[in-house]
């Protein structure tokens, strides 16, 4: 059972972000970190491979400047090896370009049974890459998994919905996006952290993956600050406030 986990190395959210002159998130500042939403996929993959009794967890990441800090965090958790796509030509890549690159990297990994990804990254938030990767590979796409099981060449997930979950199954190989909470990510052991530095890292360019004429695919025209929150409505309690609150919640369709 070989599982690829798509992991994104993002600027540390604890450090205020900056934009480049062409409106992209500046990524060459401080060390990147593993997107926390990807740590769930890494943990899930480790558990699935462990349960299968053989195979390995392979990380795939696309990042500028040969960035490996975030990959090392995932390798420390126990992943066996990583494929890093680092190429200036991919700077500012849109979701589809990213997906093309990742799909090719999955093929390069070889013998992959399952691809796991977070439902969306914590910096880009497009939430479209997992499904696009599945389409490009011609594999089934299962999304928003809060539980994943593998048996008899099939993957079965519980797909999180507003009211509960759907049970969705597909044949392998497949691409599954997992939610935070699918499993509790482990803390890397000290041994894991020390071993991570010497694990195999396959750094490639787009051309190495056979993508010879690829470009960002988008340009960001402008970035505006999110509008300030509007002042809310104040309800003074004259004994009937609860009725107005109930009406308000009903209008929002939350009750």
């Amino acid at each position: 059972m070989n599982v690829v986990v798509c992991v994104k190395q993002i600027p540390d959210p604890a450090v205020p972000g900056e934009l480049t002159s062409d409106n992209r998130l500046k990524r060459d500042g401080a060390k990147a970190i593993l997107d926390e939403s990807d740590s769930y996929g890494v943990e899930m993959a480790l558990q699935l491979v462990d349960k299968a009794g053989s195979g390995e967890v392979i990380l795939v990441s696309m990042a500028p400047n040969g960035e490996v800090s975030g990959l090392r965090q995932a390798l420390a958790m126990g992943a066996a090896r990583a494929i890093l796509i680092s190429d200036d030509a991919l700077a500012g890549a849109d979701a589809l370009t990213t997906s093309k690159v990742i799909a090719k990297a999955v093929e390069r990994a070889g013998g992959v049974d399952l691809v796991l990804a977070a439902t969306e990254s914590s910096d880009g938030y497009t939430g479209t890459v997992p499904a696009q990767v599945a389409e490009l590979l011609g594999w089934p796409s299962l999304t928003f998994a809060k539980h994943v099981e593998i048996a008899d060449g099939k993957v079965t997930i519980q797909r999180q919905t507003e009211n509960g979950y759907d049970v969705v199954a597909a044949s392998l190989p497949a691409v599954v996006s997992v939610t935070a909470g699918v499993v509790e990510p482990r803390y890397p052991s000290f041994k894991g952290i020390m071993a991570a530095k010497s694990k195999p890292l396959d750094q490639v360019t787009a051309a190495d993956l056979g993508l010879n004429s690829i470009s960002a695919g988008q340009s960001i025209v402008s970035v505006d600050a999110a509008p300030a929150r509007q002042a809310g409505e104040k309800v003074e309690d004259d004994g009937t406030a609860f009725e107005r609150i109930v009406t308000y919640l009903e209008e929002l369709k939350v009750i």
Partner: protein
């Protein structure tokens, strides 16, 4: 040239752990502390409850083997990495650094002075935390005054018979291995006494946990040895080690002092960081209290003390790693860092005012934990004596 203190330790240091790895390990412990320790430390500490679940996680992370060479299953990290880990643990909850301190002193004794057989038999069990180590030197009437050690070990065939009372044994109950200082005919001998965790084993009886001002949650006990028999092979270093235990233990205690200094840095950092945050949040007279000079100057002094404490501690660790001994520098680090921690914890209380005095915040815990460091591993009064003695030797003039 007494002013030329830099000349004392002008050595080239060569720590062995890759600094990048060290930074990753430290960051990993910090993350664990933030997520797992801080949410529960207040309640566990107030209840004086042993942090069973946290200790299990510490085992899984590998913290019980960090200083042990890789050939015995440890991680072989250098002392700088060790103190970085200790600082992180102590910044979250000082007691956690005590869970592994004497364990690592005991392991260090084996690494440095143990026989091959002792090392290969004990260390692989210690690195996983399956076997917990502790150190037992103090007695009710003998602490730093080691000449007063009255616990005796008498040879009887292939065994020694140990009789005496030991005091202030951290982790004494849960330990499976006690590095014990006992008097033999030849002098003080260090015995590596194996036992089962618990309140009684053979001739050993463990008292109940002694109540303490701070440093709560882990046991500090008295241990009574009533004609407890150990094999002669339990002597640290084998037959060659008989009568040579004190020098070995005192050397091991240097690491203990560096550990205490690192703990003090951890507590001081936590108190300082809480204070500098609070001073910007809390407003009086229309401005944050950090804008009042009375508070700002406190923050300046606290930050300076903290930085100096950390640098002294790192310096002692480097020196010890490089030369094998750092008696004076370990004492200096322990003395300065612990006094700094006590000052900083007290100032943190003043800056927080009434809320700092409540049990809702950890400020009162820092205030209660800090005095452990001015007393533990040799009081600061003893440290000054050791430092002065060392300096006078180093700067002796010819008459």
């Amino acid at each position: 040239m007494v002013s030329n203190l830099s000349g004392m330790t002008a050595k080239s240091f060569s720590p062995t752990t890759d600094p990048e790895i060290r930074a990753e390990l430290t960051a990993s412990v910090r993350k664990w502390v933030e997520r797992e320790v801080l949410p529960v430390a207040l309640a566990l500490e107030h209840a004086d409850e042993y942090p069973e679940a946290l200790v299990e996680q510490m085992k899984e992370m590998g913290l019980f083997g960090i200083t042990v060479p890789e050939e015995y299953g440890g991680l072989g990290l250098d002392l700088l990495s060790y103190i970085a880990v200790i600082e992180e643990l102590a910044a979250g909850w000082m007691s956690l650094s005590g869970v592994i301190n004497t364990h690592h002193i005991a392991a260090g004794l084996l690494v440095t002075h143990g026989t091959d057989e002792q090392r290969s038999s004990l260390l692989p069990r210690m690195v996983t935390g399956e076997m917990r180590g502790c150190l037992s030197l103090s007695e009710p009437d003998a602490g730093s005054d080691t000449r007063n050690i009255s616990c005796r070990a008498v040879r009887d065939g292939d065994e020694y018979v140990i009789t005496g009372t030991k005091a202030w044994v951290t982790n004494g109950e849960r330990a499976g291995l006690v590095a014990l200082a006992a008097r033999t005919e030849e002098g003080i001998t260090c015995f590596m006494v194996e036992k089962d965790p618990g309140v009684a084993y053979g001739g050993i009886t463990v008292s109940k946990n002694i109540g303490k001002l701070g440093y709560r949650g882990l046991e500090t006990v008295e241990m009574l040895y009533d004609a407890h028999r150990v094999p002669a092979s339990a002597v640290l270093g084998g037959d060659a080690g008989v009568g040579k235990g004190l020098a070995a233990i005192l050397s091991g205690l240097e690491v203990g002092r560096i550990n205490i200094a690192a703990r003090a840095v951890g507590v001081a950092r936590a108190a300082f960081e809480a204070s500098i945050k609070y001073a910007q949040q809390r407003h009086t007279f229309g401005q944050p209290i950090a804008a009042h000079q009375a508070i700002a100057h406190k923050l300046a002094d606290m930050g300076t003390q903290l930085q100096a404490a950390r640098l002294l501690t790192e310096h002692a660790a480097r020196l010890r790693a490089e030369t094998g001994r750092a008696e004076v520098e370990a004492g200096m680090a322990k003395l300065f860092a612990s006094e700094a921690a006590l000052d900083i914890a007290t100032e943190a209380m003043r800056i927080h005012g009434g809320v700092g005095y409540t049990t809702d915040l950890p400020i009162e815990r820092y205030f209660r934990d800090a005095p452990l460091m001015i007393i533990g591993e040799g009081t600061n009064e003893i440290q000054r004596t050791v430092i002065a003695r060392g300096l006078l030797k180093r700067y002796a003039i010819e008459e």
